[in-house]
């Protein structure tokens, strides 16, 4: 039985560290990963016209981000069944619960020390998740120091 996990993302490579740490906790199981980006819906009719989530994702996703995902996929080749990026538009606990239920998400992993750096229109789902009383798990290391023992993915990429 494959597990489905929910990781909030901001399309920055650093946010994928959460995924890496989450995958470290999971062994001998297949995992479907859903990277969720939370964005306010466009509020003008003209923006809604021709609006597709795919287009938004495509415009936010950088080649480095894709490369980093493929690094993780190669690292956990036997564990990862799929990695998908999805948009979430809701503001309420109920919409979040619906989202989680519809995708049969088993666990939500949240970064312990990393704060999402959101682009325009994006919002941070972490307070909402904590409010919703859905089961979640926080992963991360204590310090974000340069000399940290843990290797962070972003070492491999320069900004």
């Amino acid at each position: 039985m494959a597990r489905t996990i929910f990781i909030p993302t901001d399309f920055k490579i650093a946010s994928l560290n959460t995924l890496k740490l989450a995958l470290n906790n999971i062994q001998e199981e297949k995992v479907n990963v859903i990277l969720v980006y939370c964005e306010e819906e466009p509020d003008s009719i003209t923006e809604f016209l021709f609006y597709t989530p795919q287009k938004t994702i495509k415009s936010l996703k950088s080649p480095e981000f894709e490369e980093a995902i493929s690094i993780i996929r190669n690292r956990y080749e036997t564990v990862i069944q799929s990695i998908n990026i999805e948009l979430f538009h809701g503001y309420t606990v109920n919409s979040l619960k619906n989202f989680v239920e519809a995708r049969k998400i088993d666990t939500i992993y949240l970064p312990k020390s990393y704060a999402l750096q959101l682009p325009k229109n994006g919002f941070d789902p972490i307070p909402l998740i904590k409010k919703s009383k859905l089961p979640y798990q926080e992963v991360g290391w204590e310090t974000n120091d340069y000399a940290s023992e843990q290797v962070q993915l972003n070492t491999l990429f320069s900004y």
Binding site: K20, A68, I71, T78, Y146, V151, T155
Partner: protein, 441 residues
């Protein structure tokens, strides 16, 4: 040309139209004239005449001709009598109506049947509208065309001269810049148009050229300095020894020191030779399939021998599960040399603080990161780090010649990879290498 066609066609169609129109007016007049002249009903004829006199203005030199045509009368007679050309009269009789123009007098004739008698009614007048208004319009069109041509010519000449002013300006400025004053730049105007893009492209080019020039200058002075130092000490040592007779121990000591300096010289020459060889890739290097993680391990073993106090940690937390994703096409010796240089530098400039080596691989590239906690490189000196013999200002306390990094970069370049250095002073330096994965069938 278009203007001429346009004006001409306006004139031509208006001209045609005014003529047909005028002929039609004449025809109406002829019909009315025929009506009141020949109509039996005198009352109607009278009223026609009144209407005509009251409502129709008289045209310039309007004349009416009324002729009865007998069944067998000669049309020539009529022609002679009326001074109208014969063919015109024949035309009227034959076609019931006809038009004619003699100079600027217009004639319209109609055939009129009344009480089984045949008449022809001809009305003639001068077309004031055609002759004057059209002439006036023609003049206006002519003057307008000439004016437009003049204005367009002036404007196009003006623009063709001045539209290239910014480009001429750039050309002038670029011409002024030569090897002596390569620091000069073209002034940038902060508009987002093509010209300012061109200017900034030029300035970028000049920046790169200036760096290249400086590199060359630095290279010669640095190289002579690097070669000069051991040579001076060899010469000095030898001179001191030759001043007087010495004991064998002293000779031995000095020869050892000379040998050390010569070895140093030899090493510099060797690396320089490598640098030169890797700089020009026209000679194809032998490539084979290599596993990057094995290479890193071998490098670490090598450095362990050279510098037992090193603290290199190899991090496999991102290592792909599939070993195929670690294979690259490369020359073992060269990559080995590059990694040794980078790791050696990392250990040296951090005084053997931990150095972290990360290996990861995406679907088409192998990523290597060498992260040290050393002295770092000042941001202002970052553009020069790939210059041979360049050494950052904070490296005084460390031995080295400044060839390692350029050599490593050349090697990575040969392998179609990328080498990038990012650094924070006093925090550390990270060298990132990306190498394309080998295509394995």
């Amino acid at each position: 040309m278009m203007l001429l066609l346009f004006g001409g066609s306006i004139y031509y169609f208006l001209y045609n139209y005014s003529y047909t129109d005028f002929y039609k007016r004449l025809e109406t007049r002829a019909t009315i004239a025929a009506k009141y002249n020949f109509d039996a009903d005198k009352v109607t004829a009278e009223s026609f005449k009144t209407i005509r006199e009251e409502h129709l203005e008289r045209l310039t030199e309007e004349k009416e001709y009324l002729y009865q045509i007998e069944q067998n009368s000669d049309l020539k007679e009529v022609a002679k009598k009326s001074l109208l050309p014969l063919h015109f009269i024949r035309d009227i009789v034959a076609n019931a109506k006809s038009t004619l123009q003699i100079n600027d007098t217009f004639y319209t004739g109609i055939r009129y049947n009344n009480n089984e008698k045949l008449y022809i009614v001809v009305v003639s007048a001068k077309n004031y509208y055609a002759s004057h208004h059209l002439l006036f319009m023609r003049n206006i069109i002519f003057v307008a065309i000439i004016l437009i041509i003049l204005i367009t010519t002036y404007l196009s000449l003006f623009f063709s001269k001045h539209i290239f002013d910014p480009i001429k300006n750039i050309t002038r400025r670029v011409k002024q810049i030569s090897t002596e004053n390569i620091h000069l730049r073209i002034e940038e105007n902060n508009e987002d148009d093509e010209i300012s893009q061109l200017i900034s492209t030029f300035n970028d080019l000049l920046n790169r050229l200036e760096t290249a020039f400086e590199t060359q200058k630095n290279f010669i002075s640095n190289a002579s300095h690097e070669f000069g130092t051991p040579l001076t000490s060899i010469m000095g040592e030898a001179e001191v020894m030759l001043m007087k007779e010495r004991s064998p121990e002293e000779y031995q000591q000095s020869l050892t020191s000379i040998l050390g300096q010569a070895e140093r010289l030899n090493q510099i020459t060797q690396t320089l030779l490598y640098l030169a060889q890797t700089g020009y890739t026209n000679k194809r290097v032998h490539f084979e399939i290599l596993r990057t993680d094995e290479l890193i391990w071998q490098t670490k073993e090598m450095i362990d021998k050279l510098n037992p106090k090193n603290n290199i940690q190899i991090d496999f937390s991102l290592l792909p599960e599939n070993p195929k994703k670690l294979k690259v096409m490369g020359n073992k010796q060269l990559l080995y040399l590059a990694f040794t240089n980078i790791l050696n530098n990392a250990c040296k400039y951090s005084n053997n603080k931990p150095v972290q080596v990360t290996i990861a691989s995406s679907d088409n590239q192998v990523f290597l990161a060498f992260k040290d906690q050393g002295i770092g490189i000042p941001a202002s000196e970052m553009p020069f780090i790939y210059d041979p013999f360049f050494r950052a200002s904070n490296t005084r306390n460390f031995e080295g010649y400044g060839i390692g990094l350029p050599l490593a970069r050349n090697i990575i370049k040969i392998h179609n990879g990328h080498l990038q250095v990012s650094s924070v002073v006093e925090k550390g330096t990270t060298v990132q290498i990306k190498l394309p994965l080998a295509v394995i069938q």
